[in-house]
Symmetry: D2
Subunit: 356 residues, 4 copies
């Protein structure tokens, strides 16, 4: 874990979207500012990105680059559902809470049906029961696809078995299977598996492969494993204003992101920071840390006096949204051991000041 950057410690652990970008990504842009390249993705660099992702996923994939996760998710979902379709997702999912109804907009009105389950993961038995309801009943929107987030919005992980089981449910029932991978790399290095195992080998049809949160400026790759979705995606992307003319600058970001394992190194850094933080919190008075922080999000319970102290010291984080005294810390590729230790130092100081 990198500790050498000379700068004031990072003070906000509110989200991974407040970080900057990896220098390699911007340097790649600089390489392409001169010269001409054909527009809209027919340039050599965009072709190279497709080849790299095909190698990484160990099969031919189709790639559509866009600049936001909301766009990637909604484009995937709208290519998998008719306007009268149901999209099954967890109540805490980003598509349900944080995209201002984008899936309904892109799909002309498809319905998000939430399937609850612990740790922000949808329960497959509930899913099985739900998708059998009112099948073929013209009065009701009909099962169309399932969307899961990996790593989830609370930092938990679907195991490979869990993904495969959902994949089988989808296949058996003719449903599309989408993975919102805005923290794909964090999940991958935590599970220590291959990209293929975590996606198409488990039945995933379409992936929102996130890069923005993990070092890019604004770059997400829609990766399609199901070739039936390709033609439609082309028109959907253009029609929604997400086909960039100077595509090479989007491709350059993803290309740099995939080069020399930058994406994996960045994710390991973010995950390691969260784990370092978790280890440092264990056993402190006034602090409760659950087992098993694997990705880059840590939920814990802090004594209100500790929360106050941190806020006064200028730290940024969300608290009391998920229950009283519950605090969420998010680390990123830019979070160093020094940053974590600085935060831990403040927490320990506040613990020491707690009344006996």
């Amino acid at each position: 874990m990198n500790v050498a950057i000379h700068r004031p410690p990072v003070m906000s652990f509110a989200s991974d979207n407040i970080a900057g970008a990896s220098p390699e990504v911007v340097q790649a842009l600089m390489k392409h500012i001169n010269g001409q390249a054909s527009a809209y993705g027919s340039d050599p660099l965009s072709q190279q990105v497709k080849r790299k992702l095909s190698e990484i996923f160990e099969r031919e994939v189709e790639v559509f680059l866009v600049t936001s996760g909301t766009a990637a998710n909604s484009l995937c979902l709208s290519s998998m559902t008719p306007p009268w379709g149901n999209i099954y997702c967890h109540p805490t999912s980003h598509i349900n809470n944080d995209e201002c109804g984008a899936p309904a907009f892109f799909s002309d009105g498809a319905k998000l049906l939430t399937i609850d389950g612990p740790s922000a993961k949808l329960d497959v038995e509930r899913l099985r029961a739900r998708i059998c309801e009112k099948l073929g009943d013209v009065h009701t929107t009909q099962p169309a696809c399932v969307s899961i987030t990996q790593a989830t919005e609370v930092g938990s992980l679907y195991t490979l078995d869990e993904i495969s089981t959902i994949g089988e449910v989808c296949k058996t029932n003719g449903l599309g299977f989408h993975m919102d991978g805005s923290r794909f790399a964090n999940a991958l290095v935590a599970l220590d598996c291959t990209p293929a195992q975590m996606t198409w080998k488990a039945g995933v049809d379409a992936l929102s492969f996130g890069a923005t949160k993990n070092g890019a400026l604004a770059a997400e790759a829609i990766v399609l494993f199901n070739p039936a979705l390709v033609t439609e995606m082309n028109y959907r992307r253009k029609r929604s204003g997400h086909l960039l003319s100077k595509m090479r600058f989007l491709s350059a970001q993803i290309d740099a992101y995939l080069t020399d394992d930058l994406w994996l190194r960045n994710a390991r850094q973010a995950n390691a920071a969260a784990q370092r933080l978790a280890r440092g919190l264990v056993g402190l008075r006034g602090v409760k840390v659950p087992d098993g922080t694997e990705a880059n999000i840590l939920f814990c319970k802090l004594d209100p006096a500790i929360i106050d102290a941190l806020l006064k010291a200028g730290f940024g984080f969300y608290h009391d949204r998920w229950g009283p005294n519950v605090v969420r810390f998010v680390t990123s590729f830019a979070t160093t051991a020094v940053d974590v230790d600085y935060l831990l130092g403040e927490i320990r100081g506040a613990v020491d000041r707690l009344p006996g």
Copy 2:
């Protein structure tokens, strides 16, 4: 006009979207890769962009940055029309031909009604007649807004008077007025007027302020002069996936673009290249050049043997789309005098080889 770059001459004059980017723009990105900034546009840099644009337009404006012209246009139009509205535009307009129906998608089905006119500019008398048809008739879509492109898709310019006249028609009839300014800077320096004169002083409500074609990587600013459109725009942008999380990287592009008149310098370079080309073509055998190339697009008629010779030499451009032997050359901020002279040299050689 800059002539000093040491590189092979630029060979394609097909479009301004095949150019790269201004170094200043990418250098600005590099400045912001470290440190944290709040997301979604609440960062200081994004606020600064709003202030700069307010200064440039000599009034308070609201700014919404996006990454494509199609997004900027459709977001503006959809905030100005109900689903049963008419959007009046020229038949050759980008929104009519080149956006895969995006305005209809964003607006839930509004109708593009084309108003013809010479030089790709809609004829205001035809507009006047058209917007009176079937007013209030529930069987027919109803007048909602007018969209013009400045500079137009063929490189021509609406005069300030022409814009004002359309603005008055809009105001009198309660219609919104949108300007697709994907070549806004090229038009501005050609007309030698102020941004205020070319927009809100002439009645424009919403502007797609283009930067991508003129030196940015992927950055367009929706500039709203009509405050009634602001709240809606916020939700429309998010809902369509066009609100970037790391907004500072989009703001950094526009900020650099506006700094030290980069945007005006770039546009002047592009326009000068087109004029140098036009001057060089005048009087050549087998070549017909119309008067008055003002922006960065030049249409001319070339003897077919000249066209063949240029294609064989590896030049890129569109031809025979707008009539037999009609050729379109597009220059950009990256086109130098050397590039133009190289092209002219080839043309002159081909002319010399024409049979007497």
Copy 3:
């Protein structure tokens, strides 16, 4: 309660949409088959319907006739919400379960948010809490309107106080207020209040005034109390194919329905049949009837052997959808005392055969 019709007893209590129509309604159609009338609602009969409804509601109202409840509901809702709006409704509501996503289609993607509460009535305290969530947060769909069903889908009734309280919440928070009145007359006669009290005096903006279930062939009136919705409704109705050319035939149905209190007489007949059934069931072995059947829907619990016996005898009704052994009986304007007694006779026979 009418008992005199000579026909075999009605055997199905599954829904009120399986009944036929009132003779008066069809006779009214016959009156208008000759002669000419202007189309699309400008005929005198359509104007008369508007006047009659204005009298009934004790104020000027705007009326838009359509042929289905789904159309009436979705047209009302879509005129009260932007595409990024929330429509609050009970989980059991028709708009949530039985319209195949029509509200999302008509509104270009607005979201149904369910507010639970006992007896299929949304709990106003939960509503209050919910509509304050994430106000103005661009990442989330925003509060737009509330929809309640009167009488509800399970036959319960909102009291006037309950409606007024919801109306106040809507007014205070700038939300539209819609009432799905597909069983409006049944609710009205049960509450013994005026149409004005049950609607606009309690804050309702738009009403789906149902007639089909209560004696018409296919006729529902959208009644608007909020004049701000009128212009938009005109275009929305036409654009969705719900403006009939020979409107007089739709108007004739509603006109007859309102003449000589046919609508109230029909509703009383349906309600009386349900109450007669409830009274007959009280105290029978193997039968549990809840208190307070007020409208035309009766839920009860029957011993499985009774259910089997009724099914074998050819009766039609839904059962075991709302819990084990729960049976729903729906009566209509066409249900007579004879019909009810015939059903009761069968039930009593089955009770007698129950093992001691």
Copy 4:
């Protein structure tokens, strides 16, 4: 042609939607007001309508009844085009001018592209050229389907050969083929061919089979010859509010319409009235009648003094919309020889009063 009805002569020739209805249609409704029938089209009468239409079209067809032509047209078109599709139609077509953008609403934004041609019929050579433009170009909406009106909006007829030629173009190019048959019966009896010849044998995939203008109250049948459209149509109809609960009352109209050739008798009456009118006008001073009135619409040129005289006498018709002094007379199933002769008498009187 029926001349025996004792009533004042019909004075309006403005449209066929101002007529009433055939008594047989309303009598059929009366038959079904008692008794119960299952809802939403699963009743025996609705099944019978499907069988009757299958017999009439000499093959198995799928039938979806709705209450307006706009609904029938838009449901057909939206099941044949993606949101980014082109619908080719004549500029004068009802879908282009008179449905308030319904096709765009139902299809989430598909584009109407007009193909001109004489007599309100689209020119097949222009169609051929148009559908090859920008094929597969992601920047442009793509060819999806063709819609023709039979008889057209001006009363002209596509010959069987013309329909077949368009059908071949559609088949060869993978386009859907829709026929707006709001005057289907008038065209059929004029061409003296079979329903099969005029539709699926000529390549039509989906037909809006009109009954409202020709004797029903409000009833149109979507007839699908292409089984691939069936599943989707079911959901589209429900979702747009066009699935009636008491479907038997819609079915009863169509059933009566098809019984004992009522639909053909009505159409013959309307056509005969137009032809009687045309014959009566031939040779009059101040009157020009084109050859070949075949269906129930007659265009002619009248001296302005004649127009004035008719208006003063209280006749209703459209004039001066299609050119100076051009008058359109529309007859219907309810127009008798007496009505025509009464109009002709007035015209002859006005002719006699014309200055020498």
